[in-house]
Each structure stands twice: as structure tokens, then as C-alpha cells.
């Protein structure tokens, strides 16, 4: 149909096919890595720091994770309901395992163990830092400085070092000594208080599942590291110090809440599964379970679905589909629909309609009417969904240490230098010999001695 020159230049292959070929996860390893040659020391624990380094590892940086000898870092000892573990924790304690809390924050990394408390360990860190581009740590502010391996000392050894500190509240100001965890970041940053059902709906503030402020905070850290590397190598030749406070990050996310508070003194409240700015644009309950015979309570419970018909035409079509003229005419205009009272009438009305349907029934009906909907999928539905599997968002990984694991892929795709997944993790200190031998000049005897002394 279109005959202009630009379109006629378009190759024969369809755009979808082009994308499928360009971003095919199976082709990842045939392509170069964006951060090849960048070395990152990750002296991190829990999620905030480790995830930051892991995003760089996905991009091809050589990330060396340094943990406490023998037991490793704290996150290895957390797992949901204490049920699944991957063994061994290390070659010294094969009968103990690493909990799944550790997964996802440490893929593709090399694993060394060093005791930071001992002068010999601190010397090793200095030797490694002298040959590194990025240093990531998330101990309490000033701890590494006290140990002689902080920004001030390491930047003197290696002025090109990008030193990334991540933590709860930052290292200065009245709250600098406060320790933090993800949900503390969420609590104090403000997104916790806005999420969940309001009191009149019988709800309370709700945390975001995932350790969101940690995992996403690490991402914000990685963005800064990448910008700093670009600036270093393209412009200044100098390293940098980056202080990322996860509470600050959460506060940055609050959308219209702060401007409205500042202008009108309004405190943004919770609004459950609906939306404050659009209607219809919310999650409703479907009365029937999609798997009524399953013995897993996650499947036998009722389904939920997101319905979105915020435009006037979409809403009219939705009402026609659902079969109501009254609401359609009463709330024909978007401005009228989005009001709180209107929402309190519209969503229960939709739930009533869906009371005898599964979420798939609702989706089928709405798909036919070309109305945007998205069933609320549980972890199994996501993990087994062909869309996510084809795209490599969730993928089976032949892990050399732990076997056949289902694992998340990188969160974005690149045509020339795709991020990729190599292995999920390794036991504590698995790479001591290769890394410390290569970078710190330790002989096999040194390594044996230091391991016996539990210094590494």
C-alpha cells in the first residue's frame, strides 16, 4: 500500500521476525559483551549491593564477589519457608546449602572469600582494587574507611576507580548511622504507605513483594556506574565516588505525591488495586478459580484480572460487553469516571459481572471486544508462559554447580551486545585459586595457608 521511498527500503522480513532474530536469547553468546575488560570488585552482602554488581556481570564485566570465608554472606542463609536449598555452600561444608534468597542477585560472578577484618585480607583487597575499574560495597558508611580500604584509600592507589557505595540512608546527615533493609527503605521512603487498600476498604499499607528497594536500588547504582565509566573513559580519566541511598531512591519514585503535598497539603492515600488517575484501570476479582481441582491453594483461589478501558470509546464498549446501559451513560466521560465515587460504583459492578467467571473467561470476552486486560498471573503461570519463555525472560539454565535451574534472564535486550546469563552462582570461595592467583599473585601454598587460617 505505502509507496514512499522509506517504506520501500524496508527489507522483506517482517518487523516481528526481525526483532525475533535480533533479540533471540539463543544468539546471545554469538555476540560481544558491552563491558568486556571491565573488572568489578563486589564487596557486598544482602541484595542492594550484590544486585548492582550483578547487572554489570550480565553485561560482561568480570565481577569478583568477595564474601566472608566459609559461611559466605548472610543472604546465602535465607530461603522461602526454609524449604529449598542448593548444595554445597562451600567445599568445606557440603552438608549445608545456599538458600534461594541468594539467587538472582549474583549471576555470572566469580566467588572469592576474604576476611576484611584482618590486615592480610585488607592487603588483598587493595591489590585487587589496584587492578579494578569498579568497586561496589554496601557495608555501613565508614566501615571500609576504618579498615583502610574505603574510597579515600583506594582512590589514592587507583585514581581511575569508580567507587559505588549503596545503603539505606547515606553516610552523612542526622540518620547516617541507621542500618537499613529493603522494607525499611520502602517504609520510610513513602511507597509502602501508598500501596495497599485504604482503611475503609479494610486494608493496610502493603509492601512491594520482591526486595524492590534493593533490587531496583542496585539498578540505579549500576546506571550511575555505567555513566561514570563512560565519563572516565571518554572524558576525564578519573574515577568517582557514588553514594546511593535506597530511601532517597524510593522518595524519587513518588510521582505526583510530593508536588501535590507541597502545593495543596494533600497526603496521597492508598487506593487498593485501582488507579487514581485512570478509570477503568484496575484489578478486579473473578468469582471462579481457574484450577478448581488443584490441591495447591495458590491455584485453587479465585482469579484476578486487570481491566483497562479508560478512554470513552473503550469504556462504552466495555459497558456494552458487560451489558449495562446505566453505568455507560452515567459515566460516559473520563472525568466523571475517574472520580472516587464513580470508581466505587464501577469496579464492584464489574466484579459482580465477573462473579461467575474465571479470569480466562473474562480475558476471552474482553479480547473479543478488543478491551485491554491482563490476568493476574501467578509465578507458575509466568514461568510456563510461552511468551516469557520464548523471550528468555524466564529460562532453564544448565548450571555447572547446581544442575538444571529455572532462572530469570536479563531484564532488557540489546541487538549487538546483549546481556546474558552464564551461571547462577558458585559456592563460597570457589574462585579463590584462579582469581587470587591471577590478580594478587598468591601461590597455591599461600592460598592453602590462608584458607586454613580462614583468612580467605
Amino acid at each position: 500500500m505505502a509507496t514512499d521511498t522509506a517504506v520501500s527500503k524496508t527489507p522483506q522480513i517482517s518487523f516481528e521476525e526481525f526483532c525475533r532474530k535480533t533479540f533471540d536469547p539463543k544468539g546471545e553468546f554469538a555476540k560481544p559483551e558491552a563491558l568486556k575488560g571491565i573488572r568489578v570488585l563486589s564487596c557486598t552482602q544482602y541484595i542492594l549491593g550484590p544486585s548492582c554488581a550483578s547487572y554489570l556481570a550480565e553485561l560482561g564485566a568480570e565481577v569478583i564477589k568477595i564474601e566472608a570465608p566459609r559461611r559466605g554472606e548472610a543472604m546465602r542463609h535465607t530461603t522461602p519457608f526454609n524449604e529449598p536449598f542448593l548444595y554445597p555452600l562451600s567445599k568445606y561444608v557440603p552438608e549445608r546449602g545456599t538458600g534461594l534468597g541468594f539467587l538472582g542477585a549474583n549471576p555470572n560472578e566469580y566467588f572469592c572469600s576474604i576476611d576484611f577484618h584482618r590486615p592480610e585480607g585488607q592487603n588483598l583487597v587493595k591489590k585487587l582494587a589496584a587492578k579494578s575499574d569498579v568497586f561496589v560495597e554496601n557495608y555501613r558508611p565508614g566501615t571500609f574507611d576504618r579498615w583502610g580500604i574505603g574510597y579515600r584509600q583506594l582512590s589514592a592507589i587507583n585514581p581511575r576507580l569508580v567507587y559505588q557505595w549503596l545503603g539505606g540512608f547515606g553516610g552523612w546527615g542526622p540518620g547516617r548511622v541507621r542500618a537499613s533493609y529493603d522494607i525499611l527503605g520502602q517504609s520510610q521512603g513513602g511507597n509502602f504507605g501508598m500501596t495497599g487498600k485504604p482503611e475503609f476498604m479494610g486494608g493496610s499499607p502493603a509492601k512491594h513483594t520482591i526486595w524492590l528497594a534493593d533490587y531496583w536500588g542496585g539498578m540505579m547504582g549500576a546506571v550511575q556506574v555505567l555513566a561514570s565509566l563512560y565519563y572516565r573513559d571518554k572524558i576525564s580519566g578519573e574515577g568517582n565516588f557514588i553514594e546511593y541511598s535506597q530511601v532517597h531512591g524510593v522518595t524519587r519514585q513518588l510521582e505526583y505525591a510530593l508536588p501535590l503535598y507541597g502545593r495543596h497539603g494533600i497526603t496521597r492515600e492508598r487506593w487498593g488495586t485501582w488507579d487514581t488517575q485512570l478509570c477503568v484501570h484496575g484489578i478486579i476479582k473473578c468469582g471462579k478459580s481457574s484450577y478448581p481441582n488443584s490441591d495447591n491453594p495458590q491455584e485453587s483461589e479465585e482469579g484476578y484480572i486487570l481491566i483497562s478501558a479508560s478512554g470513552d470509546e473503550d469504556f462504552a464498549r466495555l459497558c456494552k460487553t458487560v451489558g449495562d446501559g446505566n453505568i455507560a451513560s452515567k459515566y460516559a466521560k473520563a472525568d466523571a469516571r475517574v472520580k472516587a465515587e464513580a470508581q466505587l460504583e464501577i469496579y464492584p459492578f464489574l466484579e459482580k459481572w465477573a462473579a461467575d467467571k474465571t479470569k480466562e473467561d473474562v480475558a476471552n470476552i474482553l479480547d473479543k471486544a478488543n478491551i485491554l486486560n491482563q490476568p493476574v498471573w501467578n509465578a507458575k503461570e509466568v514461568a510456563t508462559n510461552p511468551h516469557w519463555q520464548q523471550r528468555g525472560a524466564v529460562r532453564w539454565l544448565d548450571d555447572p554447580y547446581y544442575g538444571d535451574l529455572l532462572h530469570q534472564g536479563p531484564g532488557y535486550k540489546m541487538s549487538q551486545t546483549p546481556p546474558r546469563l552464564k551461571w547462577a552462582m558458585k559456592p563460597v570461595g570457589a574462585d579463590n585459586e584462579s582469581i587470587l592467583g591471577k590478580l594478587a599473585g598468591l601461590t597455591p601454598e599461600d592460598i592453602k595457608r590462608l584458607e586454613d587460617q580462614e583468612c580467605i
Partner: protein, 466 residues
């Protein structure tokens, strides 16, 4: 529609350094003062910007993911030109519950803008261009020569069919980094779902199902109040863009095509959901404000709201109960005597968590958030209340560090906002201005990039091209 400030901020003065560091020895003050001297935002404008040599066209509309992504780049110094359709991005009109009186109004033109859109238009210029017209596309192709990065979020393949997609523009500008952002992706079985917006991604990735109280506690799946998947997806997109930039500068001298989706960004960070299912078929349940993998690590009700207390390992566990025991010796005694609560792993059991938080509630019910935090912090236990926006805005630590600040906009007056968390020694992020009216930068941008004349502007405006 009044633009007058109705509340003073800060209501309580910002603490002064001498108050913050009062009573500390020189040695104890040394490190925080060093950090403050290199990280304080008031020093930002003395320092260079990491991305100041870059130009970005954000051509996304209707969604937050692209705006968030370009915000990250603009805070780090990139020149971001927001290209909107004539009349502006429909997101400009969004305001909570449709309340027009909550919108911000341009002093000159009277054009209103919703606070949500405004908050993400930081450091960006606003240019209008109608890509649905032939002439608009020709202009866009000429402009593509001048940029490093283009971000778009049209339906999959739409730009390609218009002749201004990645495949066509890379011929014009081989160094172009082209990033598509969206909810579910440009390819794959679900790519063609109609007009998608967060929280589609939240529902499609397992996030909603896993958030909120479990059914057993009377709960339902829950979405984030925020368009949070877009924030995470936009951050991943920014990461991809910067990695592509680094590779372009260091190695290839060529751009590339990036695709980032909100749902996959969340799938990436949904910790153990996938591995757990893969191991034994477990489906991650909701667990309310408690944690599946750590005890104590939860938010529970207290005297004046909700209180987070965290401390999973033994050292902190016993410290927490010592604090509780000061007021409720019987509670501490009961916990210490319980043979099922001695090992970290045993405490993770569902029933043990119920017991733990019920017993902690005996103490929390008598303690306000600030009392609880004060008592626990003496024992170095991480804790803090769930804060509401008014409390966040007034929180002394945030005010002192400038996490929340006020800016004076030439268009919209004073705006309270969440500042950039990109605090650095050498190339810190910063706010230069907050938002511009639709098409405010048309003259400047088209003249300097394409040499437009006054006649061009008149003609294109009439033809609804700009």
C-alpha cells in the same frame, strides 16, 4: 485554580550541621563530614555532568516507562528533548481523581499539566512533532541525524511501518542508539495486546499475585500504588542505553537496538520465584507485610501506625527481645524459653512467624513509631515506621540531605519534588528545571537543529505538523 502555596515547606526548619554533628569527636565527625563535602547537592553546579555531551529524543507518550528512562539520563546531564504530538502527551492531562484544581498551570499561557507528568519532565525540553504526518516524519528523519539516543514506545512495528523505525533510522545515523520500551515486548505471543499501560506489567509478571495479604489472611493480590513496573523497566532501559553508549564509544562506533519491557524488568528482580517453581513446583504465595525468608523482618501495626522491625540473625534477634523485655519481661521470657525459636532456620516456619509477630505486637501496641525506633536503634536494630507523604516531606534526615526539595519554576511557581538520588563526588545528577509547557522549545530546537525559518513555523503549525 490557585497557584498560591497553601502550606509552608519546610514546616519545621531543616537541621543545621552543628546540630546534626553535635557532641561528636573529631574522629567520629571526620568521615561523614568528608562525605558531605564531596556529595552535597549544593555543590552540584560546580561540577561537570557525566552525560552532558549526549542528546536524547524521548518520543514516548501515554506511558511512564519512557519518561522515567529519559529522566534518568537527563538527571545525569543528557540534553533530553521530549517530542510530543501537537497538543502534548495525553499524560499531561492526568490528575488524581480528575481534579483539575490539582494541576499546575503555566503562568504565561495558562496551560495546565498534571503533577505526575510534571515530576518526570525534569531537565527536559518540550518539542511538538506529529509523526503521523508525512512531513512530520521527514522532519524526524532529519532530526535523527543529530541525536545519540531515541526512545520510543509505539505499538510493536508501528514506527517501522511508518518508515522511521530502527531499521530505517540506523541507515541515516549508524551511531544511533535506539530503544523501544513497553510492557510486554515487540515480539512473542502477547505482543499485540491493545494499548498497554502499567500495571499491565505488574499483573503479567507475577508481581501483583505475590503482593498483598494471602487469601488465608483475607487478602487479595495487590498492585503498587505507583506505576512501579515502569520505573523499574525505565531504569533497565537506561542501563541498556548506557551500556550501548559505552560500547559505541570504546569499541564499535556504532549504535544498536535495545528493547526494554516493564514486565521483564520485574521478572528479572522477582528474586527466587522462578527457581523455587523450577525446583519443586512451588508457587510463590503472597505473605502480606511479612517475609517468606526472614524472621524478624516485617511491618506490623503499632500504637500510631505501622512499624518495620528487622533482624533475622541471632545477634539482632536477642537484642530485639531485650528491648521488648524491658517493658514486657514475660514476653521476652516466653520467647527465650521457646525451643522452636532458637535456630534461625526454625523461626522461618509459618507458625513461628505468627507467634513472633503476635508477641512483638504486645510491645508495639504501646509504642509509637518514633518510640519504637528510638528504643531499637539503641541496640543497633534496623527499624522505622511506615511514613506517609507529609512525613516523608518533613523527615529531618531527608530535608538535611535534600532528598526532598523545593524548586522555583519560571512556569509553574514553587514545586516540591523528590530529588535525584544520583549523588556523586565527580559528576552528580541534578535538577535544572522542572517541566516545560507543550512545545515551549520548538523555536529554539528546530532553528538550531534544522534551520527553520519563521515561515516554516507558521506553515507547519497550520498543517498540524508541530
Amino acid at each position: 485554580m490557585s497557584s498560591a502555596k497553601t502550606i509552608p515547606w519546610p514546616a519545621v526548619p531543616i537541621p543545621k550541621p552543628e546540630e546534626v554533628y553535635a557532641g561528636l569527636s573529631d574522629q567520629a565527625k571526620d568521615y561523614p563530614l568528608f562525605l558531605e563535602s564531596i556529595c552535597r547537592q549544593s555543590h552540584n553546579f560546580e561540577k561537570p555532568e557525566a552525560l552532558s555531551r549526549l542528546r536524547v529524543y524521548d518520543t514516548t507518550t501515554r506511558m511512564m516507562i519512557g519518561h522515567w528512562c529519559s529522566s534518568m539520563l537527563s538527571e545525569l546531564g543528557a540534553e533530553v528533548i521530549q517530542i510530543e504530538p501537537p497538543g502534548g502527551d495525553p499524560m499531561r492531562k492526568l490528575t488524581p481523581f480528575g481534579r483539575k484544581e490539582y494541576m499546575f498551570t503555566d503562568k504565561e499561557t495558562g496551560e495546565p499539566v498534571g503533577a505526575h507528568f510534571l515530576h518526570e519532565m525534569r531537565n527536559k525540553m518540550s518539542v511538538t512533532l506529529n509523526l503521523e504526518t508525512e512531513e512530520g516524519r521527514e522532519i524526524f528523519k532529519k532530526m535523527a541525524v543529530h541525536t545519540d539516543i531515541i526512545i520510543e514506545n509505539d505499538p510493536p512495528g508501528h514506527r517501522d511501518s511508518l518508515g522511521i523505525g530502527y531499521r530505517q533510522l540506523k541507515e541515516i545515523n549508524p551511531r544511533l542508539i535506539y530503544c523501544w520500551v513497553g510492557q510486554l515486548g515487540q515480539w512473542g505471543p502477547h505482543k499485540d495486546k491493545p494499548g498497554m499501560l502499567d500495571p499491565v506489567a505488574q499483573a503479567a509478571c507475577g508481581f501483583c499475585h505475590g503482593t498483598g495479604d494471602p487469601k488465608e489472611f483475607g487478602g487479595t493480590p495487590m498492585r503498587s500504588a505507583l506505576w512501579m513496573a515502569d520505573h523499574v523497566g525505565g531504569t533497565q532501559a537506561a542501563m541498556g542505553i548506557l551500556a550501548a553508549l559505552y560500547y559505541r564509544e570504546m569499541v564499535s562506533n556504532e549504535g544498536q537496538f535495545i528493547e526494554a519491557t516493564s514486565a521483564e524488568a520485574i521478572i528479572r528482580i522477582l528474586d527466587y520465584s522462578w527457581a523455587w517453581y523450577g525446583m519443586d513446583g512451588s508457587i510463590r504465595p503472597r505473605f502480606g507485610n511479612w517475609d517468606l525468608a526472614i524472621n524478624i523482618y516485617a511491618v506490623n501495626p503499632c500504637k500510631d501506625g505501622y512499624m518495620m522491625v528487622g533482624g533475622g540473625h541471632d545477634r539482632l534477634w536477642y537484642r530485639i527481645w531485650r528491648v521488648v523485655g524491658d517493658e514486657h519481661p514475660a514476653v521476652e521470657e516466653d520467647i527465650l524459653g521457646d525451643p522452636h525459636l532458637r535456630e534461625v532456620a526454625d523461626r522461618l516456619a509459618m507458625n513461628q512467624q505468627i507467634k513472633t509477630y503476635t508477641m512483638l505486637g504486645e510491645w508495639l501496641k504501646d509504642n509509637s513509631r518514633s518510640d519504637a525506633e528510638r528504643k531499637l536503634s539503641k541496640q543497633q536494630v534496623a527499624s522505622g515506621g511506615v511514613l506517609y507523604v507529609n512525613e516523608v516531606a518533613e523527615y529531618p534526615h531527608f530535608k538535611y540531605r535534600g532528598h526532598v526539595a523545593e524548586t522555583e519554576s519560571p512556569h509553574y511557581g514553587k514545586i516540591l519534588y523528590g530529588t535525584t538520588p544520583f549523588q556523586q563526588h565527580k559528576t552528580p545528577g541534578r535538577l535544572k528545571w522542572m517541566g516545560r509547557p507543550t512545545g515551549y522549545d520548538n523555536q529554539d530546537t528546530y532553528r538550531r537543529l534544522l534551520g527553520f525559518t519563521s515561515e516554516d513555523f507558521t506553515r507547519l503549525k497550520q498543517a498540524n505538523v508541530i
